[in-house]
Amino acid sequence: MSHGEIIAPTGFHARPRYLRHMEKQPTQFADRAALVAHVKALSPLAGDDGVSDTRGGRAAAERLLAAIDPTAYGHSRNYLDGAVTRLSPYIRHAIVNLNEVRNRALEMGDGKALEKFIQELGWRDFWQRIYAQNPDWIWRDIEAYKTGFAPDDYADTLPPDIAAGETESAAMNHFIATLKTTGYLHNHARMYLAAYIVHWRRVTWQAGARFFLAHLLDGDPASNNLSFQWVASTFANKPYFFNLENLQKFAGMDAPCDYHTNKCFGGSYDDLAVKLFPHMEAL
């Protein structure tokens, strides 16, 4: 097993390992704090980076499912305050499935208004199918970087200022703090932060992906890692990057996006391409 090395050596125990564990774990707790304390006791290595306000369980998922607005989604989904569903952690663990979400959307409108929403559900289905067909694509570069850089030009570990949310950019720091406290980021914020990590800081997409997986409630090997590869260009024809104007338009209502605290994103796409990808032939 790939995770075998983490298990305590059996030789220390008088009895086989499994006999120590065959005790039913509780499913009722006085309050959430008691549940959290129990999970911490079961998972001593999971760290103590806080707990999200987002609750697990089907009831919470059904409340979100009842509230979806696929028509508003179609024209607002790219904005950080757009009508997105926040269903992802529930879909990730099949607490609801894509079929139920699509069927619910069909009750709410006609084909045209639902187009964008149902297509986005399709992205998850697509990534899951790729994962099943090519499980080895999850952690390795599927294609070469199209950035003019070689894999070795990227750092393998996440710089501490990114992990701490203390980078040069106030917007990225806001996204990092949101990720760490809520376990959720809007899709566009994920794209911005992933691009910042890979292209501005020249860190491997794998290091960025691990950071996201440790914090996202919906963290999924396929959706996360293949999206990171899409941003990085190892699973796309070109790298994804953005400029300050784009950030201000879609994230300005959520994150601090003024020039003075986000200078690294200033300029046109052409200027930024020259700065970020000096060895790349014209985009």
Binding site: H3, M22, V36, A46, G47, H93, P135, L217
Partner: protein
């Protein structure tokens, strides 16, 4: 000799077809800390999963997944396990190991779209729009099929 349901992280729903497949069976979730470490899960995710489990008709045991199933085999006569289909190679590898001695049946969740496998040039998926051009025919239909 008895039949069990193994609820793993990719099938945490009381209406998942594993339950319809084995309505009388005891359902078990194994809190495998080393597995979750290997998946890079932090505390937030683990709390989310535990909270989800508290609502489900499932017994939770903590331990290594393979060891725990061997124990259920020895102590409770588990012989036949029904579980959710998953793309995750780590879970598939565990299932493969368990097949020495236990019968494992995987049940797929209801699909998002029914794709015509013959026309799906299986194994060749690469870019989204190639998939979507096929999927969109059924994606806007109830249950993803005509």
């Amino acid at each position: 000799m008895s039949r069990f349901i193994w609820l793993h992280e990719d099938c945490l729903r009381a209406t998942h077809p594993v339950f319809a497949h084995a309505p009388q069976a005891r359902a078990v979730f194994i809190w495998d800390d080393a597995y979750m470490d290997a998946m890079h899960y932090g505390l937030k995710r683990r709390v989310f999963i535990y909270e989800t489990l508290c609502d489900l008709p499932v017994e939770i045991y903590a331990g290594d997944t393979i060891d725990t199933w061997r124990a259920l085999q020895n102590m409770a006569g588990a012989s036949d396990i029904i579980t959710g289909k998953t793309p995750n190679p780590a879970l598939k590898a565990i299932m493969q190991t368990l097949r020495e001695g236990l019968q494992i049946t995987t049940i797929a969740d209801a699909p998002f779209v029914h794709l015509d496998a013959a026309k799906d040039d299986a194994g060749q998926l690469r870019r989204f729009f190639k998939y979507w051009n096929k999927a969109k025919k059924n994606a806007f239909l109830y249950d993803g099929r005509p």
